[in-house]
């Protein structure tokens, strides 16, 4: 129980939360069985990613030329060494899937981190300064939001050159307008409150006001958005990998694995099914957590 409570506190933004509200939060969160299952699966994926080298029976790029496109063990003609079969060049599917979890979590963390950082900084400036700067920034965000996110990411990668790093940068750029909007709205709401005026009268400079006085009170709505965009980031990166614009072969990234498997779709169902299932389960777990977080943090917010 205590261990789980610690996890719950991490989810609410990594801020030090006094035990009272934390227990309160966990009680709320626990109400939603789906959210608890999601959290469980997510922890499992994190453990798999951390222990990938220990858990995976083979290295992700080890090729076994004597075992090409072997089916999973429960099918006829399987090789007992390869639990989930092998791909077209004889690499163990299970090992590649296990190592792929590292990429997905890494992508999620980097993209959310980048877009959160950019979004908070820009949104804070817009909401604090208002006026022309605010209008300019918000118009720019409107323009970015006018494009379908995947298309914009695709074009950005075309400019930067296809690679996992550039895919992550592109997705972060595409996602940050959401954070800018949320942060700006929260900052504007806080700026008119008495404690901000008090701090200003006490002589706090703009930087101190922005970063230390206002910002900590604007973080609540960002939690849920961060969770949701974690799953969007994994999905978009996999889609870019699938289109050949993300991680490049032989990286065991799940989307890239799917792209490589496409031509064997009617001959070897497992090379197509497994990576997608891994993406779906991970994203589903994170979305379940996001729903639970939303309900627990603010029961008034609707599910959309």
């Amino acid at each position: 129980m205590t261990e789980q409570v610690e996890h719950a506190s991490m989810k609410s933004g990594g801020m030090p939360v006094p035990p009272g509200p934390l227990v309160e939060f966990w009680r709320q969160y626990r109400q939603n069985p789906g959210a608890v299952i999601g959290l469980g699966i997510f922890i499992l994926v994190v453990i798999i990613a951390l222990l990938a080298d220990v858990l995976a029976p083979f290295a992700p790029n080890d090729q076994f030329r004597d075992a090409l496109l072997k089916p999973p063990v429960w099918q006829d003609g399987a090789d007992p060494r390869f639990l989930l079969g092998t791909d077209a060049v004889g690499r163990d599917m299970l090992s590649r899937l296990i190592h792929g979890s590292r990429y997905s979590l890494f992508i999620g963390c980097i993209v959310v981190g980048l877009s959160l950082f950019m979004g908070i900084a820009i949104g804070l400036v817009a909401g604090y300064l208002r006026g022309t700067v605010d209008t300019l920034i918000m118009r720019l965000m409107d323009i970015l939001l006018a494009f379908p996110s995947l298309l914009l990411a695709l074009v950005l990668v075309a400019i930067l050159g296809p690679s996992l790093t550039n895919a992550m940068i592109a997705i972060a750029i595409v996602q940050q307008p959401h954070y800018v909007r949320l942060t700006r709205a929260a900052v504007i709401g806080e700026m008119s409150k008495d404690y901000v005026t008090a701090s200003r009268v006490a002589g706090a400079g703009p930087l101190r006001l922005m970063a230390l006085t206002v910002l900590p009170n604007c973080l609540a709505p960002l939690n849920v958005q961060a969770t949701l965009s974690f799953s969007t980031a994994i999905l978009d990166a996999a889609a870019l990998g699938f289109l050949g614009m993300g991680a490049q072969p032989p990286t065991p990234e799940w989307g890239t694995m799917l792209a490589e498997a496409r031509e064997f779709i009617l001959r070897a169902w497992w090379v197509v099914t497994m990576p997608g299932l891994a993406i779906l389960v991970t994203v589903l777990a994170i979305n379940l957590m996001g729903d639970g977080l939303r309900d627990a943090l603010d029961p008034k917010l609707k599910r959309s």
């Binding site: 323009i143 695709l154 289109l243 779709i265 997608g276 979305n287």
Partner: protein, 336 residues
């Protein structure tokens, strides 16, 4: 109403301007010499290189280039596709109906299943049915649709052999493009089996593209219905002894409709982004596949034009939804 319309149009103009700037800068942001990029593998003599630089106006200052670009845009000139040597705009217009047809079918599929499912979940709140519907919706929402498409191909085209794998219609049939919508054209042509062939090609892409909107619409309908079902007038209607069907179907559903319509309008972006993946998987000859192919072929005028046109389409649809919303709900019209 006219004032409302004009104010919305004025709001859209700066966004349109920004979109043109972004599309304009796109080619100039590419690393390297634009002419060499377009030339690709071919080698160019220095004279030819200078001539091309001048022809495309890359030797002029940036603001002049932009002015030329805008001037061309206003006359419908979006450049020439390197791959087909045809104007980008006519290229886009040829392929656009295929995407529209697929998107319309997908959103229809999503609405027809999503709205009743959401209503049912709201009325049966807390039951197994509610949890089941919402569970399925969450799975749909989390679905990597490119994988979902491949799965459906394995099952329906591979194992069951019910549907074809790619394209819009079987090659056996040929009929002139009248409306650009295959469903209508194949009916008009009167050829036996052409319509059935079109439908069988359309089924899987429709399901794949409609999955995420379906999930979003089901969730949104449920929450809108739940909100409305708690209102006093619903209790009053029930107290009057009206049947459940009447209370839910008429009193509640009508009032829950506004957020649902908004949600449906907001799916346009999702549909066009989804079209990129869906069309690639099913070799559907629409603008999504065209964009991906153009990016891979380094056909930058096509990418630039496509980017601009897609953004404009989304902008226009959002504007229409906005205006419709004002039409349905007078309060919005008057406060703005």
């Amino acid at each position: 109403m006219l004032r409302f319309l004009l104010s919305r149009l004025l709001l859209v103009l700066p966004t349109f301007f920004g979109i043109t700037v972004l599309a304009f800068l796109f080619i100039r942001m590419l690393p390297g010499d634009p002419v060499l990029l377009m030339a690709g593998e071919r080698s160019l003599s220095p004279e030819r290189h200078a001539e091309l630089l001048e022809r495309f106006g890359f030797d002029k200052p940036l603001w002049q280039q932009y002015a030329i670009y805008i001037h061309g845009l206003l006359q419908g000139d979006l450049g020439i596709s390197i791959n087909t040597k045809r104007p980008v705009l006519s290229e886009f217009l040829t392929l656009f109906p295929a995407t529209v047809e697929l998107s319309l079918c997908a959103i229809l599929f999503a609405m027809v299943l999503g709205v009743p499912a959401g209503m049912l979940a709201a009325v049966k709140r807390g039951t197994v049915l509610d949890h089941g519907v919402m569970g399925v919706a969450l799975v749909g929402y989390s679905m990597p649709i490119f994988w979902w498409g491949l799965l459906l191909i394995i099952l329906f085209s591979g194992v069951l052999q019910w549907t074809p794998v790619s394209g819009r219609v079987s090659l056996v049939y040929f009929f002139p493009s009248v409306t650009g919508f295959m469903l209508i054209d194949s009916l008009i042509s009167g050829q036996k089996g052409a319509f059935a062939s079109t439908v069988s090609h359309l089924v899987l892409p429709t399901i794949v593209l409609g999955t995420i909107p379906l999930a979003v619409i089901a969730r949104q309908t449920r929450s809108a219905m739940l909100e409305v079902l708690g209102e006093d007038y619903i209790r009053a209607a029930r107290a009057k002894g009206l049947s459940v069907v009447r209370v839910v179907g008429l009193h509640a559903f009508r009032n829950a409709l506004i957020p649902v319509i908004t949600t449906i309008g907001l799916q346009v972006g999702t549909l066009l982004a989804g079209a990129i993946l869906t069309e690639t998987i099913f070799s559907w000859p629409g603008i999504g596949k065209w964009m991906v192919d153009s990016i891979f072929r380094r056909d930058y005028p096509a990418v630039q034009g496509g980017l601009l046109l897609i953004a404009v389409v989304i902008m226009i649809v959002n504007l229409i939804v906005d205006l419709l919303y004002g039409l349905i709900n007078p309060r919005i019209r008057h406060t703005s």
